[in-house]
Subunit: 425 residues, 4 copies
Amino acid sequence: MTHSHAASMLADFFVQVRERTRQLAAPLSDEDCCAQSMPDASPVKWHLAHTSWFFETFVLERFEARFTPFDPAYRVLFNSYYNGIGTRHPRHQRGLLTRPALSAILRYRQNIDQRIATLLGDSRCHNECLDLVILGLHHEQQHQELILTDIKHLLSLNPLKPGYRRHETEHMEGGEPIESEWVCFAGGMQRLGYAGAGFCFDNERPQHTVYLQPYELASRLVTNGEYLAFVQDGGYVNPAWWLADGWDWLQTHAITHPLYWSPVAEGWHEFTLAGMMTLLAAAPVAHLSYYEADAYARWKGERLPTEFEWEHAALISAGAPSEELPMNDPGCLHPAVATGTGLTQMTDTLWQWTQSSYAPYPGYRPDPGAVGEYNGKFMVNQYVLRGGSCSTPKHHVRPSYRNFFPATARWQFSGIRLARDKTPW
Amino acid sequence: MTHSHAASMLADFFVQVRERTRQLAAPLSDEDCCAQSMPDASPVKWHLAHTSWFFETFVLERFEARFTPFDPAYRVLFNSYYNGIGTRHPRHQRGLLTRPALSAILRYRQNIDQRIATLLGDSRCHNECLDLVILGLHHEQQHQELILTDIKHLLSLNPLKPGYRRHETEHMEGGEPIESEWVCFAGGMQRLGYAGAGFCFDNERPQHTVYLQPYELASRLVTNGEYLAFVQDGGYVNPAWWLADGWDWLQTHAITHPLYWSPVAEGWHEFTLAGMMTLLAAAPVAHLSYYEADAYARWKGERLPTEFEWEHAALISAGAPSEELPMNDPGCLHPAVATGTGLTQMTDTLWQWTQSSYAPYPGYRPDPGAVGEYNGKFMVNQYVLRGGSCSTPKHHVRPSYRNFFPATARWQFSGIRLARDKTPW
Amino acid sequence: MTHSHAASMLADFFVQVRERTRQLAAPLSDEDCCAQSMPDASPVKWHLAHTSWFFETFVLERFEARFTPFDPAYRVLFNSYYNGIGTRHPRHQRGLLTRPALSAILRYRQNIDQRIATLLGDSRCHNECLDLVILGLHHEQQHQELILTDIKHLLSLNPLKPGYRRHETEHMEGGEPIESEWVCFAGGMQRLGYAGAGFCFDNERPQHTVYLQPYELASRLVTNGEYLAFVQDGGYVNPAWWLADGWDWLQTHAITHPLYWSPVAEGWHEFTLAGMMTLLAAAPVAHLSYYEADAYARWKGERLPTEFEWEHAALISAGAPSEELPMNDPGCLHPAVATGTGLTQMTDTLWQWTQSSYAPYPGYRPDPGAVGEYNGKFMVNQYVLRGGSCSTPKHHVRPSYRNFFPATARWQFSGIRLARDKTPW
Amino acid sequence: MTHSHAASMLADFFVQVRERTRQLAAPLSDEDCCAQSMPDASPVKWHLAHTSWFFETFVLERFEARFTPFDPAYRVLFNSYYNGIGTRHPRHQRGLLTRPALSAILRYRQNIDQRIATLLGDSRCHNECLDLVILGLHHEQQHQELILTDIKHLLSLNPLKPGYRRHETEHMEGGEPIESEWVCFAGGMQRLGYAGAGFCFDNERPQHTVYLQPYELASRLVTNGEYLAFVQDGGYVNPAWWLADGWDWLQTHAITHPLYWSPVAEGWHEFTLAGMMTLLAAAPVAHLSYYEADAYARWKGERLPTEFEWEHAALISAGAPSEELPMNDPGCLHPAVATGTGLTQMTDTLWQWTQSSYAPYPGYRPDPGAVGEYNGKFMVNQYVLRGGSCSTPKHHVRPSYRNFFPATARWQFSGIRLARDKTPW
């Protein structure tokens, strides 16, 4: 593929990704886009701006011929964590940025879009520049999922329980899920980590050898109905099932059920992006912390997989691919009932907590410069989630993809796939 | 005055007050109106809604013929503190109410306005009803000042330092202030508290006798220039001047100057409702906590007045009234340089901290019902401020008017009038 | 009285007071004397040392001929709040001072005792020196009560519920209390504050005129039985009775009854200095916060007295003095059932919360130098308690005596005397 | 070995271990033994009691013929974390247990000692019982080290900076350390985890296969002098070297140097168990958090080892064993300057932070019953330290031994051994 062809394909991808972000914000008011529900979440407006800031700071500033910033103040306002870039607006005060207005941010996006398009059309745009644009787009796709998780959290705290998008409801049903079965893997010496020629994040490299004991994975995710049995068995009041830290966390926050569940007279409701719904027993249980996922697994006498087991299983036995949606169709933003055979629900339903703490691979080197702060700075006190969710952009994930959050995080689309050691016989 | 004449005058007053609240929000975007900068402050949208809620709950619900709520959810959402009314939305989460939208709240206001107008035009609207409308209007005027103090705080935290209203700047200058002089008062047995026939809040009653020792009050408020001398003398690093609690508060929050001051190379800037300005030495120092006001007074070898001294002085020697502005002209929203003779800057410049803790008057009885939670519930750990400020609606205050805030509050338009015991000779 | 006679009487008083402090610590182990149960309380060893530090720093350092400190480190270790003296050991870490050992502190006390005795025997010891010794002794008597309240709090947190002194139990009974009656006072212009020739703290001065409306005081304190009726009527779950701050405090700390009460199958137990006892309905309810005292009074339709009403009442109608005990007999360290006629239980049972916030009297001037930090620094966000308790040293209090604590303080011997406005007829 | 011979040898070991614990407390006063400096640390008295509680609860209660508890209250008071045993005294209030007295706890120890001795002499004492006694002794050895780290922390907060044991000072010197060299390891498939016939904790099992890339370890620990260069290079003010969480931790706690260092006019002092000493540049830097260890490694361009690298290296190339001390001679309680060749300072100097988060080995199963809460409950948000320290009992550690603490822990004897990937050539 010639350089100009690559640049041209990238230009198309750029337009698609950027347009989808804008569409995700479309159902929301200016007020919805400005509020921040907690320090871990960001306002939608901030996501819209920060993803543009990324291109301006890491691409345009370096490669544009006569770079001038769109607005010098944005350099500080929309920096997320990059110490190499300088000071930042305090994370917990992002919701106070009523100015610049949403309309100004949308103009900012347009401006960046035009300048990146021009840059990509310039024959002097070389590989380093293209690579940073590609990084920026994958970065933006990550923020697309965060837009959905963050707005879900915000709306859930509103006593009116407003939905993000009404037409979700038509998807939110389904019959019984498939039976959960154990799928066996022999383990042994395996090469893990990204080895392809396409894009991956730095934390997926280098490819390296890992030795795995034989193991088994459940063929689908744990359902609401199965998790409810844990709740009803006193799961949240019996310390036997919980890590010590998890038990303290339960007590401190008086937690008695998953994040978006709420008890009603006749059973349970669940807050969704379509508003408040009856809890569907057949659908996968979602929005769990690591502590809850781990406690459930202990109660069942099983365990969570390691991230290496998950990746190995995904490499050799990915189930039938889910129906291909056009990249910019968000599909149903709620986890669907399991269907199919073999390992199902691997990447299109819920992120799956692993028991692996987030750590560098042997030989890991972050990228040079401020971009290198992307991943490595967070390799402590976080746990890896593998897969992808109903809210993850299509084609965004890979078997080697590593998501990570602290053990207390619940507002992500996170669920449980059980694992166990394979009993030799 | 006939009943219908009173009702008709009240209807005019109602229209004026309600319209002014709407005008105060006019320079702000939907986003500005939704954000909450701290638990002590409320979003402008919340103020717009809560003041309407007050009329709906305390007037319409009781006196309207076929009352139906505008929206039943608003009863909880926009209740501020009235336990007698039921549950409330948590105060620190008011900024998360992106729904109902600002536009919905403006429709709510219109609806309430029409229904109150109808009620006031109804000959069956008796005195109890009129009294509650009057209370609601004075309540709304209090929130008009809070709209200004709360939006000032929000905008001050925005790194862009945006102004609320640009045309303030033309007022923000002036020559030297008048010389500060001591005005003497003989004290003795005095009747204090409201004794007129008009409106007052329950905490201004009953009128009662107080014995005052002879005392003196400064003829004007302390200026920025005078306060700066305290700062430059190490006022914020010497515990000698501070109450023990105040000193702890300074250390915990690393406070080194008044709230809206910021040091720049060539001196000091001050954040105002017109944005960031050069600190004007001649203007009164504003936005101080009780601790700062008290520390300054000790450093000068003087003290703060009691609320009784202040009221007595206001009753017998109010200075020349400030130029009368039409009620709905907000005037300059920044404290002006002192002019005139006698006691100046009593009610139109800054609230003045007194050394009196907020307590009931002898014989005080709160109003019956939930309205009685208006004042009495807060009579602990608060200090009384007397007077009024540049942001207080015209004609809103009286010599007997009692404002009150915790000793740490700085975001109000609060300043210092010095007092001292009169030396007998 | 000649100077030498005064000095000689003072020397006797000095020996008595110092000896009593030592006796109060006698039933306690080295470990008991070292622990600190919360930042508001201090270890007994710290009290033993700090009261000696007071004499060393304010008396010996100024008046001893060839002063050398007992141990220079003690100047920092045992300074409580005197910024004028220099740095201090952090208050909340007093319990970590396992060194110096209790035995070293007892030697310190002996050393100070000898040197003060020598100083008092010296004819050159003039009035200023004598006055500071007297101040030090009254200061030490205050700490004697704190030794008892602080050790009571510490022992209450021990699951073994150990008593401080077993022989209390013989006193802890009694029949029915006297009937509670209203005692009327006409009020009017009154002179309050200390006017005698003896010792008083600076906050009791100057004497000044106050105007009082007619009022009534209850003839005895509220009993456990009466307070239990409030608890059983849902007093702790109904916000109607509580100040807003008090209600928040209840929720935050999940408070449902007085500090040392604990529910048992057959009713209530109360922790006392003699260990855990059955709650005696006839005895006065003790260890209440201001919020609880105020809420009870509202529930009864009455109010707390002002400190001025209390002092005036104490001046003109003190009941029959309680049986005179030798100064160093601590008597029963638990509040006794009311007996007698007129105003009873004024100074020997429990401190009585007043509705008066702690503030300077008109014309108040703190003493010069670091001693002046004794009282004035604390005149914010505290409420005055009047009277005295079963744990207050005999002869320590006066009608003008002002004790003060924050509204949340419960570990002091604090109770309720009701007041009401006198209905004119 | 016959059963009775094993029991007899165990009885000797029991006496030695128990006696050493008592000796460690011997230099301390009753007060020293009672205080708790922070929630992470426990009073020495509590360690003395809890280690006895372990034998009483897990051995005597199950195996003693006519078991009666020494004191039923101790079951709650001295339970550390075992939910299976019932309720516990709150961890942060252990310092308030002035009762039972130290003398009572010493009697408790004696009582348990006698009963265990009797049990071990009984021919019916079978293997399960012996195994629990052995577990209890290794548990007690862990608490022996905690006694030293906890008392060091307590004494360090005392402004008098008292030493635990004066005679340390004679050991605290030394010439230059050996040069730091890289020791190479080829990696490959390795069997790790405990495979011997002796005692190990459950978290060291099962033995399992791990694949290691080639790597190198530094031959000795990082010294104070080397670490000081990091400090002086602005290591604590440059976010480039720190994990994001670590940087937040630095800011929140205003940390600018290792825990026990303090700057003085002429350089640095270090608090030791012998009191305050001049910082010895040649000695290993100690009492670092994981964040500090990791930041130093990044600054050097190296990394921390994984726990698997460390164990593998320890297995194949342990340096010359340190001079054999009798088990109950604590030796020098301060890390010594490096001497020797090959990998030195592996187990007798400082625990070494690894980059491995604490997680179960493949196939890990905790022991059944409450004893199973010993290790597995803590496998989240902790990092593994390998080796042993100058304060670890002799013969207590193994190559497979896994110590673990949160990334913020600094009061342990923790240091840095650098690692790096082996560059292929």
